[in-house]
């Protein structure tokens, strides 16, 4: 540990270090030499296409995909056309750009996803060079063709090809070029000999990097930084110019003393970089050329590939992989020799403390005297995040934890967070996983994306462990992993449906947010319908389940699931579907087994298809409903004859349903209709459609007593109602004489109070009083009151000694009836006594 600084190389004010990330798992002798290589940033996968240029049709180059640690993921012979360039998308998909301009997309495991073309004209002119670039819009592809024309696609997921304008005087391919993303525009910067052009959508502009001396010669290599902010140009005289990519400002110009153009050139910066640099790679030399004009040179024994990262450069060789980066400032502060930074002192203090030396106290005092303990802890915590070696991480974190003990009021959150994150990072850096992310990259990438990448690489258990460990809400964490796991699981062809369904159910269980129908849909896509059905059984959301079942033509199951859900709209959906798919017989049979669906369908038919409704009842032998149907239907018939015949059918059905009453009533209805028609024809009475009572009323009003009596007998109208009818009708016509006669015809079945009341209603108190003596005793009071005879009412009430009746009379008395009131009160009192 004392030798941490041993790998540090000074560059200007800062230091650069090379950290070994992995011994590569692959065995490759010189293989990188003759290969197309593509390695994705953020510790992404590496793709190799061996000997792409061998054009003999018999031999097929091998396409190999490795994890960043060199673990083989897949390899397969390349059967398509010659490949010009390989590149990775932001979502870790491999782009293979062919000579003919077609771009083939493969996933990490080498399965073909899709392809697109960079334009028809490319087939003729051929792609000379291609580049894959990343921008906020996604992953883009740029090509230059044999006719010296550039074509751009800024986002391959939303493909819009842009053919850039011609470059004056350009023959073949330019000496070098890069893609720039500036001001939300994608441009190409290219050099043709000594000239430099910017090519955008509409124009080609010659540009001049500020401060680049004309003697420097032609630009033969160039590169932009990870953030597209900085540009480096290499001239054929060995000059390296650095500046901003908008060519407004020059940073430096370094003489590399190398006359051959480098094989690769990459910016090496980090956020808050003190001393940015450009890394240049030749066959035998790796040079770090700082903006400060200082350089570091590393000898190279092997073929190497540089991968630009957010905070450094990865150097991949056939044997190992290193991270070259500027030492973060906080690490410099702590580990620089003889550093007096608080973090350094704290680390020292803790080291002494572990040795049980009293020097620990001296160091601590020193920090505390400067009140820098908080800063010291912060430094140690931050530095731990930047270190790759777990031992160094531990010693820094221990020192931080030690320092924390002497602080009150210090938030433990940053410390806890970094511990957790480092644990995750160490786990994914393991060479079996092979994601060599730095803490800075991890923060930039976000945890969500990291989990997605793990899932994509099918490290499901690790992803779940991380979700659990970092306590990510299930919905965004474990559930998401499980969903992908299950979708992958159902594609395993070597397992039986049962085994998979069981495995999925066991793992996924009731995890919130995992949609079984989503998994089932995947299974169905792979042609495993039975498995899909098994999985769908676990789906709780019928809204998702049912449509998929219908798609798989499992309509019976879909129907019962829809019914189970209680969502009638869903049931209707299935029913409508079945109605169109099945023949009528089968459809009805299916419904019969699902009463809920059947009654919903009936509802539908009531509005839409009356005839179908009839058929449904017929099929079920539901005579009662059938008869009701005919009764309702009879009212839709305009002609009497057809109405009667429909009613006759109803009678038959009621009989079949053993509903004697309804059959009889309907027969009565028919009889009444016929009679009404007859009377209408004979007398023009306008009776059709009236009820029996109304008919009799109308007949009485016309003075047709004989016919009324006929109806009364025919329809066995109860006496009471008949009396009421006559009574009212006579009163209506104010035929008091006839009324009196009627009252005497026989004993009234309704009593005589109604006589009193109909008369008073017509304001004929004189007639009303005639009937009072005949009124039954218990209604007498009411009868007297009806004719406003308070005296009589009081007499009757007192006679009956009925308290509530007396009360009723009292309530009608006004103040002027003093005597009467007194009398009633006395009677009440005496009645109460008894």
């Amino acid at each position: 540990m004392a030798f941490i600084t041993a790998t540090w190389n000074p560059l200007g004010e800062a230091f650069y270090r090379k950290t070994e990330l992995y011994e590569m798992h692959w065995t490759m002798k010189d293989a990188l030499r003759d290969c197309l290589v593509a390695a994705a940033p953020y510790g992404g996968p590496i793709a190799l296409l061996r000997e792409p240029h061998r054009r003999s049709p018999s031999s097929r180059p091998q396409l190999e995909i490795y994890s960043a640690s060199g673990v083989a993921v897949t390899s397969f012979p390349w059967k398509s056309g010659p490949v010009v360039h390989l590149g990775w998308t932001v979502s870790d998909e491999l782009l293979c750009i062919q000579e003919d301009g077609s771009v083939l997309i493969y996933d990490l495991f080498g399965s073909f996803k899709r392809h697109f073309s960079m334009g028809q004209e490319v087939v003729q002119s051929q792609v000379l060079e291609a580049k894959v670039f990343h921008s906020p819009y996604g992953t883009g592809v740029a090509i230059v063709t044999g006719s010296s024309r550039f074509t751009l696609a800024t986002n391959i997921d939303d493909l819009k090809l842009r053919r850039l304008p011609e470059v004056p005087g350009l023959q073949g391919k330019p000496s070098c070029w890069v893609v720039l993303t500036q001001d939300r525009q994608t441009k190409v910067l290219l050099s043709n000999g000594p000239e430099l052009y910017i090519l955008d959508n509409t124009s080609c502009t010659a540009v001049f990097p500020p401060g680049l001396s004309p003697q420097s010669g032609g630009i033969v290599h160039m590169c932009v930084s990870f953030s597209y902010k900085y540009l480096a140009l290499f001239t054929d005289t060995g000059q390296l110019w650095t500046g901003t990519s908008n060519l407004q400002e020059k940073l430096s110009e370094v003489d590399t003393n190398m006359l051959t153009p480098p094989k690769q050139m990459v910016w090496c910066r980090r956020p808050k970089s003190q001393q940015p640099s450009v890394v240049l790679l030749w066959d035998r030399l790796l040079m770090v050329a700082g903006v400060c004009c200082d350089t570091i040179q590393f000898p190279v024994e092997d073929q190497c590939v540089l991968v630009g990262e957010l905070d450094g450069v990865r150097v991949i060789s056939s044997t190992n992989q290193e991270l070259l980066q500027e030492v973060p400032l906080v690490c410099q502060d702590i580990f620089k020799i003889a550093s007096m930074a608080p973090g350094a002192l704290l680390l020292e203090a803790h080291r002494e403390y572990e040795k049980s030396s009293q020097k620990a106290d001296e160091y601590l005092r020193e920090i505390k005297e400067q009140s820098m303990l908080g800063e010291a802890v912060r430094q140690c915590v931050e530095a731990a995040g930047h270190e790759y070696d777990t031992n160094i991480q531990k010693s820094l974190l221990r020192a931080a934890s030690f320092g924390k003990c002497f602080l009150t009021d210090f938030s433990p959150d940053p410390f806890v967070t970094i511990c957790r994150e480092l644990r995750v990072l160490n786990a994914i850096r393991d060479s079996s996983v092979g994601l060599p992310l730095t803490h800075t990259q991890f923060k930039h990438m976000t945890l969500q994306v990291l989990i997605d990448r793990l899932v994509y690489r099918q490290f499901y258990p690790l992803a779940m462990e991380i979700c659990r460990y970092l306590k990510i809400p299930e919905y965004q964490g474990i559930s998401r992993v499980l969903k992908h796991w299950a979708s992958c699981k159902v594609q395993q062809k070597d397992l039986s449906d049962e085994a998979i369904a069981r495995a999925v159910c066991l793992k996924v269980g009731d995890s919130p947010g995992v949609s079984y129908s989503h998994i089932a849909a995947k299974a169905y896509e792979c042609g495993r319908t039975e498995l899909a059905i098994k999985l769908l059984d676990f789906e709780a959301r019928s809204g998702e389940q049912v449509p998929l079942l219908l798609k798989m033509k499992r309509s019976h199951l879909a129907l019962s699931k829809a019914v189970e859900s209680g969502d009638t709209d869903l049931v209707y959906t299935v029913v409508t579907y079945l109605k169109n798919e099945m023949n009528r017989g089968d459809f009805f049979m299916t419904l019969r087994n699902q009463p809920v669906a059947l009654s919903l369908y009936r509802q539908f038919c009531k509005l839409q298809e009356q005839d179908t409704l009839k058929d449904l009842y017929n099929q079920d032998d539901d005579h009662q409903e059938l008869a009701n149907y005919y009764v309702a239907a009879s009212y839709r018939e305009q002609r009497l004859e057809s109405r009667l015949s429909v009613l006759q059918t109803a009678v038959d059905e009621y009989n079949k349903a053993k509903n004697e009453f309804a059959a009889k009533a309907t027969e009565d209805e028919m009889r009444l209709l016929r009679l009404q028609r007859k009377l209408d024809d004979e007398k023009g009475a306008g009776l059709l459609g009236l009820s029996l009572q109304e008919t009799m009323e109308a007949l009485l009003a016309l003075g047709l007593h004989k016919q009324t009596d006929q109806l009364y007998r025919d329809f066995r109208v109860p006496d009471k109602r008949y009396w009421w009818l006559k009574l009212k009708s006579l009163a209506e016509r104010e035929d008091w004489e006839e009324l009196e006669k009627f009252s005497k015809s026989k004993k009234s079945p309704i009593g005589y109070l109604p006589f009193v009341e109909v008369c008073t209603k017509r304001n004929n108190k004189y007639e009303a009083k005639k009937y009072i003596p005949k009124v039954a005793p218990e209604q007498k009071v009411r009868a007297h009151l009806a004719v406003s005879d308070l005296e009589g009412a009081a007499d009757a009430a007192i006679e009956r000694k009925n308290d509530s009746e007396m009360g009723a009379v009292l309530s009608r008395c006004s103040a002027s009836d003093r005597l009467l009131i007194d009398r009633l009160n006395r009677a009440r009192a005496s009645a109460a006594k008894k």
Binding site: P512, A540, G566, Y572, T573, S599, L607, W724, R782
Partner: protein
Amino acid sequence: MKLRRCSPSKAAGSPPLTSKTSFFLCVPGWSSWTSSLKIEDKMQSSRDFHILFVPRRSLLCEQRLKEQGVLGAFINIDEYILDLIPFDGDLLSMEYESAFRECYLENDQTSLYHTAKGLMTLQALYGTIPQIYGKGDCARHVANMMLRMKREFAGSQNQILPVFDTLLLLDRNVDLLTPLATQLTYEGLIDEIYGITNGYVKLPPEKFAQKKQGEASKDLPTEPKKLQLNSAEELYAEIRDKNFNAVGAALSKKAKIISAAFEERHNAKTVGEIKQFVSQLPHMQAARSSLANHTSIAELIKDITTSDAFFDNLTVEQEFMTGVDTDKVNTHIEDAIAQKDPLIKILRLVCMQSVCNNGLKQKVLDYYKREILQTYGYEHMLTLNNLEKAGLFKPQTTSRNNYPTIRKTLKLWMEDANEQNPNDISYVYSGYAPLSIRLTQILAWPGWRSIEEVLKMLPGPHFEERQQLPAGLHKKRQQGENRTTLVFFLGGVSYAEIAALRFLSQTEDRGMEYIIATTKLMNGTTWIKSLMDRPESQTP
């Protein structure tokens, strides 16, 4: 499929039809498709059309519109999820009129699905309800759907402290009797006589004529007086749930308080006192006009409740409820039919008799039916069939009438109901204690286990479910803190029942507070009306 009213929204207060935009509101329910054809006609013009499905999107309706070739004409097709509409501080209704009919006559449980969805929304807002009780088939169905939906939403566990402790789901067909009886609370009577729709009542204008000096009442207003009724009005909140016989006293007491308050002005001497008096003026004037309105309404109602017809009707009802002569043809009903009283009134009475007798003897039943058919027309055959199917007007199937047992065990009839200062819920019907509310009351204390036998006599299963609360959301109840129960009436609830529950909230010493929810606010008349079939009106 569910297009009841599909009217251009000028009715709903949105831009008039002259504007470029038109909204269509699609409400559930059954009706003919003529309405959608009307849309088609309107589509001819070059307007912007939007359609909103209430309470939620219906695939069938969309399909139907598509078949008609008009779906594409809508710029926006959306749903407005409106299940439970707040009517008052303690009252929610779905205003789903056909719910009872659909559930019990047509076996269409769409309304129950909406209910379950509505309850899920309510739980999302006010926390998971830990205990669910229920009685009846529909209640069971709703509870099942809720538990199922909870599984569907698993994961989006809500972390809200539950407001409700208990949910009680009650099927209307458990208590068919209560809505048939004439409600005797102030609000109940307003509803019985004038009908309260969407919180408003329309009243005959004569009593409300403003008597201003100078212009004598020469032109009486002809437009009905429209009044909003809810507890925001202080006086109404005070008297709405009282038995009507206690309203008069309450009004005169209020009158004295108000005039006393106005007299205060004579005592106001200092400028400060006058200012204070003036600041109270708007409130006092509002109180005075509110008092004037309710005095007028009370007068209107009194005219009716003191009539012989009302009294006779009530007497018959109370006879039935106390079990007097429920197995014979009732003379009063006979007379009422003979006098051609409104059919619904007759139906309410015969249904009540049937319910109180656990079905009628075939002879009695047939007699009533024949009387009704002969008097009101044979087309009512279908209505009678419906009532029979709903169990309201049916033949006796067993010789045993279990209503008396239920009445006695649940104390449904209280001889000495105190109308002025009630001590029991029976005051809302002047003697009859609504069965549904008794069940609610007993659930709170001593629990349903004590009436197991009676529960078995009532239709449908009774059940109890518990919903797991996330840890840490268990209410720590403080001493004297009220427990809150949400009572959901599936198939409708009457104002008198609401009054009874409010009475329990206020007086019950068990510290139980009730919030009421229902598919529809109704009374016997609107209820029976929803079950009637009128074939002639169906003719296209």
